[in-house]
């Protein structure tokens, strides 16, 4: 019985939460193979853990993974995808207070703007939008790092003039009212992929069957998550410890991120993001093909 070391994070990996909390629902977990779960604070440390060989598979953002490849000699395959921004669904957005004088992106000049992670995945599209509206992201605004969890508070307390919002915090803030959306990332490009699942290439090559089983379970986990919302709310509540009424307001609804029913990675969209990062000078140009494994990629049955 082999073990696979998996890194995860919160808040939007429903299929993995199902695997963690309802292993009995999966035919293989705990029987033909084992999973050793380790939770991380964000995707960047997981990239380091992958590079150091401390993890076999982990949740990744396109940017962190690409950074690992460019700077950390990491070789990895994208085997599945967790959430993306579906048109009409939720898109990470920048909010301002209702009574704020900031009406357009151009008004951000000279303001203090919060972003969850400086140099993180959202910054590429963000920079692109600023530039398109004549704001130099390096000179015209003061960028501070504000984690999603405190962004609402930071905005209400006036510590920042605008700040980015993500689920479930966005839902909570909207329920309270008093803030409004200034712009969202979907304005830069559609189908932004936020988090995906990546496995170390050497591990996949050595244990193809093991990873195959794992990806198969991710696929079926995603199916279960989408099929049984009631249970998914419970599972997510157990993991996030967020109250069900809050989850109820957005999870798997129209105002949530998009999820591919088979957890299949959207490689063209990822390629487009890599291009944006290259254009904004955050990364050299990369080809998404190197992340593609011939057979081991969701959906797997």
């Amino acid at each position: 019985q082999q073990t696979i070391r998996v890194g995860w994070t919160i808040p939007a990996e429903e299929s993995k939460y199902w695997m963690m909390r309802r292993p009995a629902e999966f035919p293989d977990i705990g029987k033909t193979y084992n999973i050793e779960w380790t939770q991380f604070q964000g995707t960047a440390p997981m990239t380091q853990a992958l590079a150091a060989g401390a993890l076999d598979c982990a949740t990744q953002a396109p940017l962190s993974l690409a950074n690992g490849v460019v700077g950390g000699n990491l070789k990895a395959y994208i085997v599945a995808q967790h959430v993306f921004e579906k048109p009409g669904g939720f898109s990470v957005y920048w909010a301002v207070m209702d009574d704020s004088p900031i009406k357009t992106i151009a008004d951000l000049k000279g303001k203090t703007v919060g972003i969850s992670v400086i140099g993180g995945g959202t910054q590429g599209p963000f920079n692109l939008l600023l530039k398109q509206n004549g704001v130099d992201p390096a000179k015209d605004i003061k960028l501070v790092e504000v984690g999603f969890a405190v962004s609402e508070d930071a905005l209400r307390q006036g510590r920042v003039d605008a700040v980015n919002m993500n689920q479930p915090f966005a839902a909570r803030a909207e329920a309270k009212g008093g803030t409004r959306k200034l712009f969202s990332l979907s304005q830069a490009m559609p189908n932004i992929v936020h988090i995906l699942e990546a496995c170390r290439a050497d591990f996949v090559d050595k244990n193809p069957d093991l990873v195959k089983a794992y990806v198969r379970d991710i696929t079926s986990g995603m199916k279960k998550a989408l099929a049984n919302r009631e249970e998914t709310l419970k599972v997510v509540n157990e993991v996030l410890k967020a109250p069900i009424p809050v989850l109820e307001t957005y999870l798997l609804k129209d105002n949530d991120f998009g999820r591919d029913p088979g957890a299949a990675p959207n490689f063209p969209a990822i390629q487009k993001m890599l291009d944006i990062y290259a254009d904004t000078g955050m990364l050299p140009k990369l080809d998404v093909a190197q992340f593609k494994h011939a057979t081991i990629v969701a959906p797997l049955q």
Partner: protein, 255 residues
């Protein structure tokens, strides 16, 4: 003779550091650690020298040092005065003791988000965090040091007409000085760690921030430069503290 003694001491002290660097180099050369995670020391020190000359890096250092010093200094003042007050007055003791028992073991980083909102993203929140973490080791050492001051020293001073509150400054403080300085040394190291950690969590400048930016883009060499800098900073500050110590304790048998 004295100088020879001194130089053997310095040699002894440098030896293990050289060994560590050699081990580091060995780990890299023999491929035990990939260069992307652990760059060779030569590269790191080269980059350090190069960086030290740049204005931006100097500013990062300055930001860190300001927070470090401010936080540490406040911690020393608070820790020493509260510690001595608690040792001297039963009323203060009854008040301080339980509060310290509760507050000391709290993981202060968990309060950091609240501090950020309260004090903003600038120096204030970081200095407060440093103070909160460095305070208790200093306070505890001071308290124990002050409560074991030899009775007859206090008696002698009282008999010479020293008012009670002055006894605190004229006898208890100097007599507890060895213990206080031990606490300060621990507090200093903790300050170094915490200021760096705070800058890593949320910041726009400082050595910790420099590290995080480098780490996110996997620039291993740039990641190690701030690490080496903070470690050198710790070494220098400790040497300064050592000098202060041997000056203040010159009368004590152990100095």
């Amino acid at each position: 003779m004295m100088s020879r003694f001194l130089s053997t001491n310095i040699l002894l002290g440098v030896a293990p550091i050289v060994l560590v660097i050699a081990l580091w180099q060995g780990l890299v050369s023999f491929g035990v650690a990939p260069a992307v995670l652990l760059p060779p020391p030569g590269l790191v020190f080269g980059r350090l020298v190069q960086q030290l000359e740049t204005w931006t890096f100097q500013q990062e250092i300055a930001a860190t040092v300001v927070r470090l010093f401010a936080g540490f200094a406040i911690a020393v003042v608070l820790g020493v005065s509260i510690g001595i007050a608690a040792a001297a007055s039963p009323a203060m003791n009854a008040l301080v003791r339980p509060i310290v028992r509760v507050l000391a073991p709290l993981p202060k980083v968990a309060l950091y988000p609240a501090l950020l909102l309260l004090l903003g993203f600038g120096h204030g929140s970081k200095i407060t965090l440093v103070t909160a973490d460095a305070l208790f080791p200093i306070l505890l050492s001071t308290y124990y040091g002050a409560s074991t001051v030899e009775q007859k020293l206090i008696w002698s001073a009282m008999a010479a007409g020293t008012p009670r509150y002055e006894i605190l400054f004229k006898v208890v403080l100097p007599a507890a000085m060895p213990a206080i300085l031990t606490g300060c040394r621990i507090g200093l190291v903790i300050s170094c760690i915490v200021v760096f950690l705070a800058e890593m969590i949320t910041s726009t400048d400082g050595l910790g921030h420099a590290l995080v930016t480098a780490a996110r883009t996997f620039q291993a060499v740039d990641m190690f430069v701030p690490l080496i800098t903070i470690s050198l900073l710790g070494l220098i500050l400790n040497a300064l503290l050592g000098a202060v110590r041997s000056y203040l304790l010159r009368g004590f048998p152990e100095a």
